[in-house]
């Protein structure tokens, strides 16, 4: 009995070791790169930078200097505003599109190629498109002259390079609506339409069917896709850099400016900015997920 048991245990242990060996490469890459970057960023933002001759760890003065300026809070507001508005617009547009995609229509095969195009190309292409469409000398401006609304490019309402950021939001929405659509469409395909059909047979109205049957079913897709695009939008750099309204910029742009400043000591303030971005994103996303978990438990799903 007992030799058998030890043999069994040994075999079990061997299997466990083999299992961890298989996971090890991925784990190493992520822990070293990702974890290492985060830990070092936090330490530097707290004054640990011996290579600049700065080592005042732990020192909260960089955070104090950063958070003490009104422009930081203005930047934070701008960053969140662009991220939230574009995520919401992309979500609504994506849901409507996904609901249409599950139906039959002529040319659906072609459409399935077409709507995914923005997913496949870099954000910089979207920015170029925004410039040619929405810039002061762009197509929209020409169109307004054509119908006689304006006589000069300068009269065109500033869409790009303003703090309202409609150019930035347009780029995000253009690029992310297909992502939301794809995720929700995939969930809808997995669920099938039987439950919707049952609801319809039982006499539910269209809006009842949507809010009480379809929406809870696609909720996991909504949560995961909005999490990903919201996190991306908070950390995005190129669109606010090119299309943004200048000082005060969004937080990632500020971090980059600090980091490239000729004054080395500002690099640590840049690190404090980076850590602030990660912290704020972390808090928001954690709250969002926690609320969702609570909702899932409430409706008895896990």
């Amino acid at each position: 009995m007992s030799p058998n048991k030890t043999k069994e245990l040994a075999r079990h242990r061997k299997e466990r070791i083999w299992m961890w060996l298989q996971v090890l490469p991925v784990l190493t890459v992520l822990v070293v790169l990702f974890g290492g970057a985060l830990v070092l960023a936090v330490m530097q933002s707290l004054g640990f930078a011996p290579w600049f001759g700065v080592n005042t760890f732990p020192d909260f003065s960089f955070f104090r200097a950063l958070w003490g300026e009104w422009s930081f809070w203005y930047s934070l507001g701008l960053t969140l505003y662009y991220a939230i508005v574009s995520t919401l617009i992309a979500l609504v547009m994506g849901i409507i599109l996904a609901l249409a995609m599950v139906r039959f229509f002529p040319g659906k095969t072609l459409y399935k190629y077409l709507y995914k195009l923005p997913l496949m190309i870099p954000y910089t292409v979207g920015i170029a498109l925004a410039v040619i469409m929405l810039g002061n000398g762009g197509m929209l401006s020409r169109l307004m002259e054509f119908v006689g609304l304006i006589d000069d490019p300068s009269e065109f309402p500033q869409i790009l390079k303003s703090h309202y950021g409609w150019g930035i939001i347009a780029v995000y929405v253009w690029k992310q609506t297909p992502f939301v659509t794809l995720t929700i469409y995939a969930v809808l395909l997995g669920v099938g339409r039987e439950t919707e059909e049952a609801a319809a047979i039982l006499g539910a109205s269209k809006s009842q069917t949507f809010f009480q049957v379809t929406l809870p079913q696609i909720l996991p897709g909504i949560i995961s896709s909005t999490l990903i695009i919201f996190a991306f939008n908070i950390g995005a750099f190129e669109a606010p850099f090119i299309l943004g309204g200048g000082y005060p910029d969004t937080l990632p742009v500020i971090a980059w400016r600090y980091f490239n400043d000729a004054d080395y000591s500002l690099q640590l303030q840049g690190m404090a900015t980076v850590v602030s971005i990660a912290m704020i994103a972390g808090i928001i996303l954690y709250t969002y997920l926690a609320l969702y978990r609570r909702y899932e438990r409430k409706i008895g799903r896990n």
Binding site: R16, M19, Q22, V23, P25, V26, L27, V29, L30, F34, A37, L40, A41, W51, I96, F104, F105, Y111, Y113, Y115, L117, M120, I121, P122, Y123, T124, V125, A128, L129, A130, V131, I132, M139, F146, W174, P178, L182, T183, V187, E196, E197, I201, P220, I228, F232, G235, A236, F237, E238, F241, I242, P252, A255, W256, Q267, M271, V275, A278, A281, G282
Partner: protein, 287 residues
Amino acid sequence: MAGRTIKTALNSRLSSFQKIYLLLIAGFILGPFIPLIIQSFAFRWAWPDMLPSTWWLEQREKSLLPLAWDYVISPYSRVWEATLNTMFIGTVVTVICLAICLPAARVLAREKFRGKAAFEFFLSMPLIVPEAAIGIALLMIFIRLGLAGTYTGIIIVHLIPTIPYMIRMLTAVYQGLGRDFEEQAMILGANRWQVMRLVTLPMLLPGVVAGALFTFLVSTNIFLLTFFLGQGKIITLPTLLFSKIAGGTLDASAAGITLVVTVPGIILLLITERFIKEEAFGKGFGN
């Protein structure tokens, strides 16, 4: 066929609102490319003309090619260099990512162990931690290590955002595979190597191809990490385009480059649509 004859309570056709909506979205997605294409063939196109006042074709004797395209194919534009860099980095990243993710995905799909949920959460962290934070933090380390501005550095950093996608897609593939087929082969007397070669690999292949294509796609689209860690020494298509439009204006040559940067995406779209099924994507991202 029976399904067709049964009258369902649900309408499976589009409402007229949906028809208009689909058209509007198609216009929103593709429409902006039209002026871009026109721009790249224009000779003179000043505000407020809706179409160029002088097309390249009318000025053929002055320049053999449209000005934009003449510039794009010349070495001064560095388009060719950027394309090669993009393809090279994408390929290496895909191979490494596949090699390290395959075994891990196998474990995730088949084994149960303590801390598995936490581990899975950790693997998807790169998707939800802002890229700017990772980019700048890593740049500091890479400058110390002499990796900033090198291919090695960029390839390493591209692994971060690609791993979560690859892991999810491969785990879904392994889950769909199940163990039954491998066990049956073993019962029928196949050895481990035969099982691997004749059963597991052929069944995994479509999923692996899908994961590889998607990883390649993600890598070729990365801007921020390449821009921060490339230090201007290594240019890829997204960073090249960024430098052309950073001023906020778009001339004919920038329009041409924008179109060039779009091409790999179109090619990948045509290929991936055949390999990546919506359902598979949903399995990877539905939770």
